[in-house]
Structure formats: structure tokens, C-alpha cells
Amino acid sequence: MSDSIDINGAAAGLFEPRITAFVCNWCTYTGADLAGTSRLHMASNVRIIRLPCTGRIDPLFIIKAFERGADGVIVSGCHPADCHYTSGNYHARRRFAVFHDIMEFIGVDPRRMTFSWVSASEGAKWRDVVNEAVTNVRALGPFAAYRALAPEGAGRAAPAGPSAAAVPASAGAKAEAS
């Protein structure tokens, strides 16, 4: 049992990471459901997105999750040889191997991305995957570096444009779009 994980980290003033999980319907989603109905204690930082198969998961989903504020992601599906669609997870395995390696080359900490095989009967494993992911990402802190890529002002060459304006932005007013 992993009751040693402090799932009330928020109460203790710890950073609570936001984790998006992309899971396959047949195995991991069902496994996560089992974890829930079994009333297993686990961190509550994970938002699950259900897909038919890990083979459907495009690396762009993960990139979009980071763009929108996720501090970490989990990708999980059926064990090899158990894919509901026979080979979806084999394709996913190659795709995510390459993605994982190139993201590390670009400078994204691989501990922000957790990949797992969790079957429909592995509720306990899902709990462990979640708790471990949350612990790891909490230790890494918010993925501020990715959010710092957010655009400000205008253009690379004129970053001081609108923000250096004499007239302040009319935020909050129902103004006509210029």
C-alpha cells in the first residue's frame, strides 16, 4: 500500500502539479475505474482523457497538454500482446520511444512524461503509476519553462511594442475589436 504518499500535499502548502493522462479505453481506463471503485487512495492531480487505444495518441496531444498548463503527462495502455485492436500499442510503443528520446534531446525532463502498461485488472498498478508520477512531477516543480514560451506582445523583434504603449489596454471593457 502506498499510504505514505501525502495526498493532502495541498494542505501542507506543497506545489500541486497538474497531470494529464491519456489512457486507452479497454485497459488502463478500466483499470483506473477499478482503482476508484476499490477505493484505493491515490493523488488527485490527474485528469484522465480516454481514447480507444494508445495507438490513437498523437505526440501533439502531449505537446498541447504542456502548452495548456500540464506539468506532467501520463500515457498508458494495454500490455503488449493484449491490445484490444491487436497492434495499436505496438505502434504506440515505437512512436513514444522516439518521442520520449527526442523530447529529452530538446531538454524536456523525461520524468515529466510517464509511460505505462496498465491492464483492466491492475487498479493497484494504476494507483502506483499515478502516485509516482505526481511525486516525480511535484519534485520537478511547475513546468514553468514550457509556459514561458507563451507569446507576449508582438513579434520577436518588437517585444516592447504594445506593452510599451502610452495608452493602457482597455482590459475588461466590452470594447470593439480594433
Partner: protein, 385 residues
């Protein structure tokens, strides 16, 4: 060519005084945009370029940048990689933000007034381009963001010695020593520069820093300097005219009446449609508008640079694309710049900076193309052979 201004005072400013003036502007909190020599290999990412890892001469890029200190100002008169366009029409720019509250939408407007800033040592082709694009930006819609930045900016040109055989500013209605689109012109002379203020903004800049300038006639050696400046400027004009001489009006009219001519219709076969030419061009101004959702019910509407060379530029929602191959797309580029825009606005949508030709790695050569069209227009008997 040069435009006669009603009053055109000439001053002399020494090298040191020019740098001191830059320092004064920066010290007052004014943004100064100027050419900066960027040592490509000095950054920690020098590993990026294999050229940095070879012995010998290291690559230097010249870029227009907002100066952090007067010492950065590069006065070598090389051509910056990108034009001044990015400071008036940025690569991407927020037009407004939005937030949905149920059925209501709240719009966050963006400011259209900007803090005053100065561009120093601009290339005449880059400033002239701004004057050319002013026309379309004030045509059926007043583009407040463009106009706001234009109003806020005082531009001081630096007379250009001509970069290489791909320059052709004189062929398209400007010159290496023009002040079109700018407020003043610097011409290098012994010990410093002659400065001509040609607009109210230019005169205001001189007045605000009067201590740095002497009237050109007062400074010792004035006559010699004046002669030197005139000679250098005339020589530059001759040099660039040797690269290409066309009759822009004949070219315009020929294109207008020869839309299906094989010469025009087959120009795009080598072109990859990458649009690098559009991004480096000081007069290209087409933009795309995108709504980028950045959360639930909120986002930013942005415009960003687009290119008529992209396959999807004219793609309709129906799926039809009137320019669905690179030939019509490339023809469009030539047509728009050298015929449609001149007919509409009386200006060639090109200032002969040559960047498109230098950046095209597929070998598209605007000097070659314009030469061929000019021959077809003025000497059809030669073109036929």
C-alpha cells in the same frame, strides 16, 4: 530618386557624437533600433552552426535590433538579414484577446499608440519600403497598428554603398541615398557624417540633440566633405544601376497585358513555395489572422506573416484553390509587385534590396526575371529570339 524637400538643412555629426547621441536617446528611455553586428559564434549555442567550428573567419550577421547600449551600433553599412518590416508589422501580433462569459464575449483591445522610438542607420531600401506599404495600410482600412508604429518612429537612413550584384534599388524608383519613408539621411564623410533632416520629425530629432550637430557649413572642411558625400552617393547610384536597368512603367504595362504569356506563366517551376522570399522582403505585407484558443473560453486573435507562395494561400473553404500550382502563385508575386500595386497605388511593391534573390536556395532570381520582362516589354524582337 531623391525627393526634393522644401527645407533641407544639412548638419555635420562626428562619429563620437553619433554614438553619444545614441547614448542620450537610450539614457532617456527611448528605444533605438539599429543594425547590430551579431557574432553568430559568440552565443552559447555556437554549436548550432558548423561554420563556427571551423578555423578562420567567423560568420557575422547584421540584424536590426533594439540597442542595449550605444556601443552595439554597427555602422559598417552591411545589409541586415531581415528588413525593418518586423518593427512595423511584427511576425506575429495580437489583435485582440477574448474571454467568453456564457453567451457574452469580452474583447481585450490592444493599444494602438506606441512609445516614441528612433531607427538609426536604416537602409534606404528598407525605409522606402515602409512608405510604399503605407499606401495599402491606409487604403480601404486604416491599419492602426501599422500607423501607430509609423507615427511613433523617427527613421534616420544611412546612405548605402550598394551590397552586391543582387541590389537594384534604382531600377524600382528609389536609390542608395534616398530618404523616402525616412526622416533624415546620414552620409559618411571624413570624421563623421553629414545629416540631412527631411521631415519635421527629423528636424525635431536634430533640435533635441542640437549639441551633437554642427551646421554643415560651419564645420571645418565643409566644402570638401560636401563634395565627398556627393561623389560617394553618385558613385553608389551608378554601381547599383549597373546591376539592373528597367523601365518600370513598361514592365508594369507588359505584365498587365500578358497574363498568359509563357514567360510569366512558367516562372514558378523551380520555386518550392517556402515563402522565405516573403519573410525577408521589406514590402511583402500579407498576413493571416488566427484565433488561438489558450484556455477554456479564452484566447487571442493574432495576425502573422503569410506568403502568397504557400499552397494554401488562396485555398477556399469549399476546397477550390484558384492558384493551385506554383506557376500561378509565382506569377502572382511578380504581378502584384510590379503591376497590380503600381497600377493601384503608383508605387512598385519592391525597393530592390535583393534579399529575396539572396535567400532563395532554389535559384529564383528576381534580377534575371525583371531583366527578361523588361526585354520582352521594350525589345520584343530580342525576346523572340
Amino acid at each position: 530618386m531623391t525627393h526634393a524637400a522644401p527645407t533641407r538643412e544639412t548638419y555635420f555629426i562626428s562619429d563620437d557624437d553619433l554614438r553619444a547621441l545614441t547614448g542620450e536617446l537610450l539614457g532617456a528611455g527611448t528605444e533605438v533600433i539599429a543594425p547590430v553586428a551579431v557574432d553568430v559564434c559568440a552565443s552559447p549555442s555556437a554549436i548550432a552552426s558548423s561554420a563556427c567550428l571551423r578555423p578562420g573567419v567567423k560568420p557575422i550577421d547584421i540584424e536590426y535590433r533594439a540597442l542595449e547600449g550605444a556601443a552595439e551600433l554597427d555602422l559598417s553599412r552591411g545589409l541586415p538579414v531581415l528588413s525593418l518590416k518586423q518593427y512595423f508589422l511584427p511576425e506575429y501580433e495580437a489583435l485582440c484577446g477574448w474571454r467568453e462569459h456564457g453567451i457574452e464575449v469580452e474583447i481585450d483591445a490592444v493599444p494602438t499608440e506606441f512609445a516614441p522610438r528612433v531607427v538609426l542607420a536604416a537602409k534606404p531600401c528598407d525605409s522606402a519600403a515602409l512608405a510604399v506599404v503605407d499606401k495599402v495600410m491606409n487604403w480601404d482600412y486604416q491599419d492602426e497598428l501599422w500607423n501607430g508604429r509609423r507615427e511613433a518612429t523617427t527613421i534616420v537612413n544611412m546612405a548605402c554603398p550598394v551590397i552586391d550584384e543582387s541590389c537594384f534599388c534604382t531600377a524600382v524608383g528609389t536609390a542608395p541615398d534616398d530618404d523616402k519613408g525616412a526622416d533624415a539621411l546620414l552620409t559618411p564623410v571624413e570624421g563623421g557624417y553629414l545629416m540631412e533632416a527631411t521631415t519635421d520629425k527629423g528636424r525635431a530629432l536634430v533640435e533635441a540633440h542640437a549639441a551633437r550637430f554642427k551646421a554643415a557649413t560651419d564645420a571645418g572642411g565643409a566644402e570638401q566633405r560636401g563634395r565627398q558625400a556627393a561623389e560617394e552617393r553618385a558613385a553608389a547610384r551608378v554601381r547599383v544601376a549597373a546591376n539592373l536597368e528597367i523601365d518600370a512603367a513598361s514592365v508594369r504595362d507588359w505584365i498587365d497585358t500578358h497574363f498568359e504569356d509563357p514567360l510569366l506563366a512558367a516562372l514558378g517551376v523551380r520555386c518550392n513555395g517556402c515563402g522565405a522570399c516573403s519573410s525577408v522582403c521589406p514590402t511583402c505585407h500579407c498576413f493571416d489572422i488566427v484565433d488561438e484558443e489558450e484556455g477554456i473560453g479564452k484566447g487571442t486573435r493574432r495576425r502573422c506573416w503569410d506568403t502568397c507562395q504557400a499552397p494554401t494561400f488562396t485555398l477556399h473553404a469549399s476546397g477550390h484553390n484558384p492558384r493551385d500550382s506554383q506557376n500561378p502563385r509565382y506569377r502572382q508575386r511578380i504581378n502584384h509587385k510590379f503591376s497590380v500595386y503600381p497600377l493601384k497605388f503608383g508605387e512598385v511593391l519592391c525597393t530592390g534590396c535583393g534579399r529575396c534573390t539572396r535567400v532563395c536556395h532554389a535559384g529564383q532570381d528576381l534580377v534575371e526575371i525583371l531583366q527578361a520582362i523588361d526585354v520582352a516589354a521594350r525589345r520584343p524582337e530580342v525576346a523572340a529570339t
